[in-house]
């Protein structure tokens, strides 16, 4: 018998016996295998001790399990005490929701000059339907003009009424033709002293200022102006 054969014999279930016949003969002559078998036997003994030292199943456990069984049958399902993944999932969702709420609540809003924005929005919609004086057909149809009637009404309403004869049309501030004044324009309402637009003080407001709409091209240069009050 070779060492390998002997060790293969010990590969199966643990054995306490060192074997007989050929195995014993080999073990008597091979110190290495004798040590191997000795170690295995000690391991078997140790595992048997562990097996024997296992405590008995406590009787109280049966009562506890039975109580749970009865409560399970009697009432609605109690909350699981061993589903940590569900709890973890719920906690994750709760944490995510809290983070979102906190971010929305405490995140500083970007500073914007709202007054300018509002004025610009309001003024864009007050573009006249027919800017005939300077004859720029694209301006009246430019993109920023709101085509929604409700919005136009709502925004136009608070603007001062253009009852002045001067407010009828735009006056050109520079030479303008479809080639040089192409593209969308922006309409900005400004306050100007009445003398700046050569109006009589009686036509101006009480503090001597007039409201005027200025057409500004995409290059930032004013193209036209009209006095609205």
């Amino acid at each position: 018998m070779t060492c390998q054969e002997l060790r293969q014999n010990f590969e199966g279930p643990l054995r306490m016996d060192a074997g007989g016949g050929v195995e014993a003969e080999h073990l008597a002559n091979c110190a290495e295998c004798a040590r191997f078998v000795e170690l295995r036997c000690e391991l078997v003994a140790g595992l048997r001790l562990v097996r024997e030292s296992a405590p008995e199943l406590p009787a109280a456990l049966e009562d506890a399990v039975l109580t749970k069984y009865r409560s399970q049958l009697a009432g609605p399902r109690p909350a699981s005490s061993f589903t940590p993944w569900r709890r973890r999932l719920a906690a994750t969702f709760a944490a995510a929701a809290l983070t979102v709420v906190a971010a929305l609540t405490f995140h500083p809003k970007p500073r914007t000059d709202t007054s300018v924005a509002r004025v610009q929005t309001a003024q864009v919609v007050s573009v006249p339907q027919r800017p005939t004086a300077i004859n720029i057909p694209k301006i009246a149809r430019s993109r920023p003009i709101s085509s929604h009637p409700a919005r136009r009404e709502r925004v136009v309403q608070p603007l001062p009424a253009g009852n002045s004869p001067a407010s009828a049309d735009f006056r050109g501030l520079m030479y303008c033709d479809p080639l040089s004044c192409g593209g969308a324009m922006q309409l900005i309402r400004v306050q100007l002293p009445s003398f700046a637009v050569a109006l009589a003080p009686s036509e101006a407001t009480s503090n001597g200022v007039v409201y005027a709409d200025v057409l500004v091209g995409s290059d930032g240069i004013a193209r036209g102006i009209r006095v609205v009050q």
Partner: protein, 209 residues
């Protein structure tokens, strides 16, 4: 509808169905059949009596909750219960890692049982307990797949085929894992029997101070 078959002759699967239907005696018999093995498995895996009790309890509660998911074609009820026990032990280990092997109350309980039992001499019992705790520690230090094989085959005394069913692997895999685990265990336990070199020489005369 009352079953004409006596309880004791029913299979585990039938008992589980009856228990789910509300038959308490069927549940008790199923508990009687499975609880010992599950408790021992949990004890060998956790080395803690209280953890083993907790696992056993959880397994039976889970059996009641998930019993309807049981499919007989995938294995017997014992394998199903072992699967639940395995998951419980894993969850517990994850929760309570690093696991203490024989510590605190467990060690005190062992010592107290040693002192109160009169069947064996005190030194003999202490040596025995020491050896048991060393073997337990060695088993616990094995990689999980080796430990499962040792616990199921060597400690719970399941056959290779049953262990393979429990672990959902081939019998050959169990055999090779077990062989490797035995070699590792033998290596781990070898220092216990080898006299420590240098200790004998370090007598009072060998002491420097």
């Amino acid at each position: 509808m009352a079953s004409p078959e006596p309880l004791s002759s029913r299979s585990d699967a039938q008992l589980l169905l009856s228990a789910l239907a509300g038959e308490e005696s069927a549940f008790l018999l199923l508990y009687e059949r499975l609880s010992g093995r599950i408790f021992r498995y949990a004890f060998y895996m956790t080395n803690s009596r209280s953890s083993a009790e907790e696992v056993t309890q959880e397994v039976f509660i889970a059996l009641l909750r998930q019993g309807r998911n049981y499919r007989a074609e995938r294995g017997d009820v014992a394998a199903f219960a072992f699967g639940i026990a395995r998951n419980c032990v894993r969850q517990m280990e994850r929760r309570e890692r690093p696991h203490q092997l024989i510590a605190g109350t467990q060690a005190r309980a062992t010592l107290s049982s040693t002192l109160t039992s009169g069947s064996e001499s005190l030194p003999g019992q202490m040596i025995r307990n020491e050896l048991v705790s060393r073997v337990q520690a060695a088993v616990a230090s094995l990689p999980d797949h080796y430990r499962q094989a040792v616990v199921l085959c060597d400690l719970c005394e399941l056959s290779y085929a049953d262990a393979a069913t429990r672990l959902d692997c081939a019998v050959g895999t169990i055999r090779s894992r077990l062989n490797r685990a035995h070699s590792l265990l033998a290596q781990k336990l070898e220092p216990l029997r080898t006299p420590q070199r240098g200790v004998a020489a370090a007598g009072p005369e060998g002491c420097v101070i």
